[in-house]
């Protein structure tokens, strides 16, 4: 497995963990009426913890393969990045329109729209790194 692919896996799983944590939290608050004290502290605390975890894992991978870590991205890797970003763009586009569509759902409010937008961003990120992994695997 190449260095770039390992990095894509790390970011994919970090975003996936955050997505699961975030929507579990939203589910508990929205539908189970759990107490939601200091939601901003919860949000930024989780983000900070996951960023720290991601940095630590990236450093560990870079230490394992220092030569690859020093090598700049080549043309194939840049092409993979561009293709993955294109996929993510369409996911974000659909998600954003779906968020706008919540205006027509009876009983939906700004919070529901915000969750749709959050979901769009997270799924766009997951599709970006998922596509990167798939394209790296295909060429392997």
């Amino acid at each position: 497995m190449s260095f770039r692919e390992k990095r894509a896996w790390i970011t994919f799983f970090t975003v996936l963990i955050f997505t699961v944590l975030w929507f579990t939290h939203v589910w508990r608050v929205q539908f189970l009426h759990a107490r939601d004290e200091n939601p901003m502290i919860w949000f930024f605390g989780t983000v900070a913890a996951l960023i720290a975890l991601e940095i630590a894992l990236h450093i560990a991978v870079a230490v394992q393969s220092p030569r690859e870590a020093r090598t700049p991205k080549d043309e194939r890797e840049r092409l993979i990045d561009m293709k993955a970003s294109r996929v993510a763009f369409y996911v974000l586009l659909v998600g954003t329109f779906a968020a706008i569509g919540t205006l027509h759902i009876p009983g939906a409010n700004r919070l529901v729209m915000a969750q749709f937008l959050m979901g769009s961003i997270l799924f766009a990120l997951l599709s970006r790194f998922g596509t990167q992994i798939a394209l790296h695997r295909r060429d392997a």
């Binding site: 770039r4 080549d74 194939r76």
Partner: protein, 76 residues
């Protein structure tokens, strides 16, 4: 009409040049070993610049490294 694909002789040329490894070739042309492997297996078509660099490393004309033609081999 039969599909035409880009074929290459990189593997043969590497072995004719003191069994050069993919990593050594990658370092000479400034790409990763995975990219050399993808080119060699026909899974990735390199840019003209990289194609000329590969030919330059082996000291042969471009058409000796890459050929565009019919093949029975399926491209993945």
């Amino acid at each position: 009409m039969a599909a035409k694909i880009l074929q290459n002789q990189i593997r043969r040329l590497r072995f004719e040049h003191k069994e050069m490894t993919q990593q050594e070739l990658a370092e000479k042309i400034g790409v990763t070993r995975q990219t050399v492997n993808a080119i060699e297996l026909g899974k990735y078509s390199p840019s003209l610049e990289v194609a000329f660099q590969i030919a330059d490393v082996f000291g042969v004309p471009l058409e000796e490294v890459f050929q565009y033609g019919n093949s029975t081999r399926r491209r993945s």
